[in-house]
């Protein structure tokens, strides 16, 4: 809903901003200033994606881009298809120093997909259009082009280009009452038998006939929900002398009636046509044969589709005009959006709210739509960073306060520091660590379940859910469980080891009679180690005792071995210093047992593991040359594999601490040495892949 105060505040802020900008211009002595197009994005946009031209072309000059494989290909292809000769992407007229945006707006009846592209040279941009004389409609400095089939509109002036394409939601028009308001019928094919008996069809028609004359409906045609919800200030004087709220309403109405005059006769005409076919249908369908009925249905269906398309076009035109005029509350006033931004990002994505996303697509899921399964999940954002060292994607999800508090409690544990000495950074191929507070988890888990599924299952089951939760709490002694499994664990692969494996082969005698022989070969397997903290070992000990009695487990000194024939590797385990260890290397286990495990975790690895609730690292370099080439099935494959691995830097992932109500995680991939930055490296990868 509209905020009555915001336009005033917005205007005030805008003045302040302009003042500041003027100052900045004076100081930096920049002569031109084109405002960032974010101002054009309406506050109720659903998804906003940004490519930050400035940051991109900092990493790679336009000249370098033009000369790159991708650049050359792009220029060559566009030149070819438009029969022109482009030598630089600057020839497209786009302002590469500014941000480009994609956004969409959703409501129950239409989805708009929109692009906002900053222009530097509108003439150059226009040169991309063939036969422009016939296609472009000029009004002042605003030029409009309607794409064939009227499904999209492009509008531009000297500073920006706006592209919009709208798609009507069929679910909206499946609701006959709603669709009738727009003179559209939901046509369904029915055989003559049920058609004759279907009184519902007639009923729908009557609603639709009676509503034609109501002026309210006409206004609805003019103002689809998305636009209506927005602040319309077109007719309002910018000085803001009149009360905004009043002016808004007034202007909307004036406009609606003004336009209604233009469009109304057309609509009425269409409706009459529909009524005629309807009456014909009622009288004669029973006697008509199936094929004729089907043809008629097809015809009618096409008519209705055309109507929907016209309606979409009317809505789209209006939306484009508004966005272009830009006199409404912009997304800049959306705190969730602005707080998701980062100056250094190359590209950004923001989705307003998972709950809203779910609810907006939910009607298409049928009855489950009403259940807010995404309840408690707010906006989502992702940012891409590239620099001289790595690629990084940072993602964040806003939670409802209750949810965030629950997660904070669950995340309130750090990895057992003792784990760190078992990470051999020199050799480690990878590791994964996580830590949660088991007790908090078990306590919070039922609440989270209730929140998510409670609404899903409906009010009628509330009591049962409550009962289940209580039962869960009674049966489980959270405290006791958390003593057995504290909630932190580390999985680490400290390198590869080769071991001798026997296999059966054949030898042949002088008569080529075969003899079975046992041969041995070296096989390389990763040495893994898995550990978790446990302070109460009674249950474990009982389990071990049971395992030994049933010969599932054997023991030597204090190292246990799992006797499982199917297992391709031997698995050992032991309990030491409040840690339960699992591993496949007896040597490693023995050295842990007698305190001779010699490893030196690097600072980076230590930080990654100790400071985050979840972390993952894969160091491909430590795999290079460790696997004998026979195991790849040949020198060549092995060489390729090693080359690829050698080029890979560390890949790692981590969860960040919850800030406010925001949970976030980062994934990073380091680039190999010898590359200036991640973007250039990416381009070289694309080039190599295309070769």
């Amino acid at each position: 809903m509209e905020k009555l105060t915001s336009p005033i505040k917005y205007n005030y802020l805008n003045k302040m901003k302009k003042l500041l900008i003027a100052l900045v211009i004076l100081i930096s002595a920049k002569l031109t200033y084109a405002q960032d197009l974010v101002k054009k994005i309406p506050a109720n946009a659903f998804t906003v994606a940004t490519i930050k031209g400035n940051n991109v072309f900092k990493l790679m000059f336009v000249k370098d881009f033009n000369e790159s494989f991708v650049g050359k290909k792009l220029l060559a292809e566009t030149s070819k298809s438009l029969d022109k000769n482009f030598t630089s992407i600057e020839d497209f007229g786009i302002n590469l120093d500014k941000n480009m945006y994609y956004f969409n707006q959703l409501n129950d009846s239409i989805t708009y997909n929109c692009f906002l592209i900053p222009l530097k040279d509108a003439n150059k941009f226009e040169s991309l259009i063939n036969n422009k004389e016939n296609k472009i409609n000029t009004n002042g400095d605003i030029r409009t082009m309607i794409l064939p089939d009227s499904t999209s509109i492009i509008k531009w002036n000297n500073n920006m280009m706006y592209f919009v394409t709208g798609s009507i939601k069929s679910s909206f028009f499946a609701d006959s009452v709603k669709s009738a308001k727009y003179g559209i019928k939901d046509v369904r094919f029915q055989s003559k038998y049920d058609y004759a008996n279907d009184s519902a069809v007639v009923a729908v028609d009557s609603t639709y006939i009676t509503t034609i004359d109501e002026p309210v409906m006409v206004e609805d045609v003019e103002a689809p929900p998305v636009i209506k919800a927005k602040v319309q200030k077109k007719a309002v004087t910018k000085k803001g002398a009149i009360s905004k709220a009043k002016a808004k309403k007034g202007s909307a109405k004036r406009k609606a009636t003004a336009k209604a005059k233009k469009v109304q006769p057309k609509i009425v005409e269409e409706e009459e046509a529909v009524i005629m076919t309807d009456t014909m249908g009622d009288d004669t369908t029973v006697t008509k044969n199936y094929d004729e009925q089907y043809d008629e249905y097809q015809k009618e269906r096409a008519e209705q589709d055309a109507k929907m398309k016209r309606l979409a076009f009317v809505w789209m035109t209006e939306q484009a005009d508004k966005v272009f005029a830009g006199n409404y509350e912009s997304i800049e006033n959306n705190k969730s959006y602005t707080s998701s931004l980062d100056n250094k990002a190359i590209a950004e994505l923001w989705v307003s709210s998972l709950q809203d996303v779910y609810n907006s697509i939910a009607p298409e899921f049928g009855t489950y739509g009403k259940a807010g399964i995404m309840k408690g999940y707010g906006s989502l954002n992702a940012k891409l960073f590239m620099d001289g060292k790595s690629f990084r994607i940072s993602t964040g999800l806003e939670l409802a306060k209750e949810q965030a508090d629950a997660y904070k409690k669950i995340m309130n544990r750090k990895l057992n520091k003792k784990f760190l000495k078992y990470v051999d950074s020199e050799k480690a191929i990878g590791f994964m660590g996580y830590s949660i507070d088991t007790k908090a988890y078990l306590e919070e888990f039922p609440k989270l379940i209730k929140q998510t599924y409670g609404s899903f299952l409906g009010k009628s089951l509330d009591e049962e859910i409550e009962l289940g939760i209580d039962l869960f709490s009674i049966l489980l002694d959270e405290e006791a469980v958390s003593e057995v499994i504290k909630g932190d664990a580390l999985f680490v692969i400290n390198g590869l080891n080769s071991k001798d494996v026997t296999y059966t082969s054949y030898e042949y005698d002088d008569d080529y009679n075969r003899k079975e022989v046992t041969k041995t070969k070296k096989e390389t397997l990763p040495d893994f180690l898995f550990m978790f903290s446990s302070e109460d070992n009674r249950l474990m000990n009982k389990l071990i005792k049971y395992g030994i009695n049933k010969s599932y487990v054997s023991v030597k000194e204090n190292i246990y071995k799992i006797e499982e024939k199917k297992s391709p590797v031997d698995i050992y385990f032991m309990i030491k210093d409040g840690i339960v260890f699992f591993g496949n290397s007896l040597i490693e286990m023995q050295s842990i047992s007698n305190n001779s495990f010699n490893a030196s975790p690097s600072k980076m690895h230590k930080n990654l593991l100790a400071k985050n609730n979840f972390s993952f690292l894969f160091n491909a370099k430590n795999l290079v040359g460790k696997v004998p080439s026979e195991e790849f099935g040949g020198e060549e494959t092995a060489k390729k594999f090693n080359e690829t691995l050698g080029k890979m830097g560390n890949v790692y992932m981590k969860s960040n601490p919850i800030k406010g109500n925001l949970v976030s995680a980062d994934i990073s991939a380091e680039i190999p040495n010898g590359h200036e930055n991640a973007l250039k490296y990416l381009f070289s990868l694309i080039e190599n892949a295309a070769k």
């Binding site: 191929i429 990878g430 664990a489 999985f491 692969i493 590869l496 494996v501 296999y503 059966t504 082969s505 054949y506 042949y508 002088d510 008569d511 080529y512 009679n513 075969r514 070969k521 096989e523 397997l525 990763p526 893994f528 898995f530 799992i562 499982e564 024939k565 199917k566 297992s567 391709p568 590797v569 698995i571 699992f582 696997v627 026979e630 195991e631 790849f632 099935g633 040949g634 494959t637 594999f641």
Partner: protein, 226 residues
């Protein structure tokens, strides 16, 4: 995390990406002078047993469903049942060793031509298109044994459609055929074939990828001394 999940993690980290396995297929035919003889078919995957054991723990690998031990045994039993009904075939036996991953099928034939089409039909029952057409004949009077082999071009195209990582599975795979006779061999037409010291047996070894790609032809015309 239970043990099975452990393995899965392990497998995905190291074993699966380099799933090239060594295995051998051995086809042995022992001909008697009267035209009857024995066949022993062996598929030996023991060189890759760690990998196979790992793969058997998975439901599917690289998009292919991994058959269970029961499924493999059942299919072997079906093949045996089929052979038992085939004309001129007797004494059908099969073995399956799931510790070393070796399976065999053996049987006795009345005439070597009895085995023509058998492999093809068995494969067809499993909905696998045969990769070659192969026929055997033995002429008692002329004392000639011949194997006519023609690789099917579609096999090559189908094989090339596979992803590289799937092709790699066949990289270390070998095919060996051995034909034994009661009479010494005078000549064998295939230059790739080797004669045993006693001159009573012929062996031909080749890589399975070469067979699929049609690089090697295992046709052979064997003339026994009269």
């Amino acid at each position: 995390m239970n043990l099975k999940q452990f393995y899965k993690l392990l497998l995905f980290l190291v074993i699966v990406p380099i799933l090239s396995s060594c295995f051998e297929v051995v086809e042995e035919i022992s001909m008697r002078n009267d035209g009857t003889g024995d066949v022993l078919l062996t598929i030996n995957l023991s060189q890759s047993k760690t990998k196979i054991a790992s793969v058997m723990l998975l439901d599917s690998v690289q998009g292919y469903k991994v058959p269970s031990k029961q499924k493999i045994q059942q299919e072997l039993a079906e093949a045996v049942a089929y052979l038992k009904k085939a004309e001129g075939i007797t004494n059908v036996k099969s073995t399956a060793d799931f510790n070393n991953y070796i399976a065999t099928i053996s049987f006795t034939f009345k005439d070597v031509s009895n085995i023509n089409n058998i492999t093809k039909n068995i494969l067809a029952r499993q909905k696998i298109k045969a990769t070659n057409t192969s026929s055997y004949s033995y002429n008692k009077a002329a004392k000639t044994f011949s194997r006519k082999y023609q690789s099917v071009s579609t096999a090559k195209t189908e094989f090339n459609k596979l992803k590289n990582q799937d092709k790699a599975v066949f990289n270390g795979a070998n095919y060996t055929s051995i034909y034994r006779f009661e009479t010494p061999i005078a000549s064998a037409s295939n230059p790739l074939s080797n004669l045993s010291k006693t001159k009573k047996a012929v062996m031909l070894k080749s890589r399975i990828t070469d067979l699929i790609n049609g690089k090697i032809n295992v046709s052979n015309q064997i003339q026994l001394s009269k």
